[in-house]
Symmetry: C2
Subunit: 137 residues, 2 copies
DNA sequence: TTAAGTGTAATAAACACAATTACAGTTTTC
DNA sequence: GAAAACTGTAATTGTGTTTATTACACTTAA
């Protein structure tokens, strides 16, 4: 299955940015249309990345830890640490084949370039900008 | 991306570019370290994209259909048509939630941007350049 | 003290991919 | 024209990844 954690995380953080209050995992889960436990697991990694704060107990939940102007999509991307955009063939090479023995290094460079391109794109978008776009729609 | 078809395809085409001969699926499969049927299925899509020609029967196999200088990684990427680099949440929105109702459009724009960035990167690399890199390594 | 949350483990279900088997069809070569 | 060596392709199985679900200990506010 395709990993949707980045999508989930952006969605959750946008809700928190818009509401500016503590929101519980059940409410967030309904917005994303997934299970509260899935949300809570995601909240843990977002908290580890310093993007949100959580509170246990009654009236607990999550809220943004900083100004949405200072949260980029790249920070969210790094927090959830998704799989690389281009998957490499990790099996061992056929020793007798020249291409097989050397393609891995070259492909890794290409994948790194693709990754860098995506990261550059995401670095240019803040949560605040996203929030404004949503409001205008 | 989750699947390795792009990696497999680049590998296969590099072998064909280096050998400049008809190569059968069993040989290609050994180089990639996978199953000949997996290779043959990939060869079909590469042929459909006009990148290779195949020949059935004895001494059959695949060969490049054009100069490696005129094959870009983007063409290979498009041929195998991998899943998007950023996975969107495709479930239906929670009607009562403003963010939920509008995030999809915005996320789609972000994903499109990421896709475009990767495509731009891949468009700049030819099979010929790859081949030369491999030779030098 | 109770209600309403989080944190977290364990397990099941869903899904995507790749591997494998099997065999019909094609083409070369002898 | 028969055999050998391929491709094309369907069907099925195996494997790993991701999400969903259940359960419950722990925390906090009212």
């Amino acid at each position: 299955m395709v990993n949707q954690q980045f999508s989930f995380a952006v969605h959750i953080l946008t809700v928190l940015a818009v509401t500016r209050r503590v929101v519980d995992s059940r409410t967030l889960a309904r917005s994303v249309n997934t299970n509260p436990v899935v949300v809570r697991r995601l909240l843990l990694v977002l908290r580890a990345a310093g993007l949100i704060e959580t509170q246990a107990g009654k009236n607990g939940g999550a809220q943004l830890a900083r100004d949405p102007r200072r949260i980029t999509l790249l920070q969210i991307y790094d927090a959830v640490d998704p799989r690389p955009v281009l998957a490499l063939n990790e099996r061992k090479a056929a020793r007798h084949c020249f291409v097989s023995c050397n393609i891995k290094t070259v492909m890794a460079l290409i994948a790194d370039g693709a990754e860098a391109a995506v990261r550059k794109h995401l670095r240019g978008i803040t949560l605040h900008r996203l929030q404004r776009k949503i409001r205008r729609s």
